[in-house]
């Protein structure tokens, strides 16, 4: 049987990879890809705590489903913003999108 720690360390590693993608990529779409990796690692944690805690309580899975819904909402609005910015400014590089920078 796999101990709980393996799942948690796996999720922590996936979260760190996603964090690196968010912090260092220039393309706005690539930044959203990193956010997806981070949200997935959170879902692994939720499912693992459901399985290793009280199986009769469905809280972990319910929260994972809500994270699915929030991720879908986030990615649809985020990609719509990227496409809208691309149409007006002709760029998707995050450094160049600085109209609101003071």
């Amino acid at each position: 049987m796999v101990p709980l720690s393996w799942y948690l360390i796996f999720a922590a590693a996936l979260f760190s990879i996603g964090l690196f993608g968010v912090l260092s990529r220039r393309n706005a779409v690539a930044i959203l890809l990193g956010i997806e990796l981070m949200l997935n690692s959170v879902n692994i944690n939720l499912a693992a705590f459901w399985r290793y805690g009280d199986v009769l309580q469905m809280t972990g899975q319910v929260f994972a489903i809500i994270v699915f819904a929030v991720a879908a909402a986030e990615v649809s609005v985020g990609l719509a913003l990227v496409i809208s910015v691309y149409r007006r400014r002709n760029t998707v590089v995050a450094d160049d999108i600085n109209m609101m920078k003071w």
Binding site: L8, A12, Y86
Partner: protein, 169 residues
């Protein structure tokens, strides 16, 4: 080492390797395809955790909808994909440092916790996780309100996405 542990290690290595390719590949279409394989590895992890509904939703919603949406967005912004030139910003080493520090911090935090070596208890005989999950999602005693709020959020996000991306010409 049991068979389940070997399967878990293979799946974890596959998922982490694909995730690493997502954040380092130059070509964004390839990055989106690596994201598909990462999401598939996470779906296998859900199956290993006996969360069958989550595994199916992961394949249907994430791979079937979100990853395809990413591929469409990459193709719609194709002119500025910049396959040449640096893909990372000037401060990429800060990102490396912060992500390594985050992993190290989480690792040491987990090391000091005593519930870590816990193994899963057996699932009770006759326990139907999917029907329990359905009951929890629509029961007023449980999570019907967050479920409805999530659906309102999805509708609002989709309407907002159409409004933002709409071409007014």
């Amino acid at each position: 080492m049991t068979g389940e542990q070997i399967i878990f290690i293979l799946v974890a290595l596959f998922t982490l390797g694909s995730g690493f390719m997502v954040v380092t590949t130059r070509n964004l279409v390839h990055a989106a395809l690596w994201l598909v394989s990462t999401l598939f590895g996470v779906a296998v992890t859900f199956a290993l955790l006996n969360a069958s509904f989550l595994a199916v939703v992961q394949v249907v919603v994430y791979i079937g909808a979100i990853a395809i949406l990413f591929i469409f967005a990459v193709m719609l912004t194709r002119k500025d994909m910049r396959d040449q030139g640096p893909q990372t910003n000037r401060n990429w080493w800060v990102g490396v440092l912060l992500s390594v520090l985050t992993f190290a911090g989480l690792f040491f935090l987990l090391q000091g916790w005593n519930g870590l070596s816990k193994t899963a208890s057996a699932i009770p005989v006759g326990f139907d996780a999917i029907s329990e999950l359905g009951n929890a999602l629509i029961s007023p005693d449980a999570y019907v309100l967050p479920f409805e709020v999530a659906s309102v959020l999805l509708v609002a996000a989709l309407v907002g996405a159409v409004y933002v991306a709409f071409n007014r010409k």
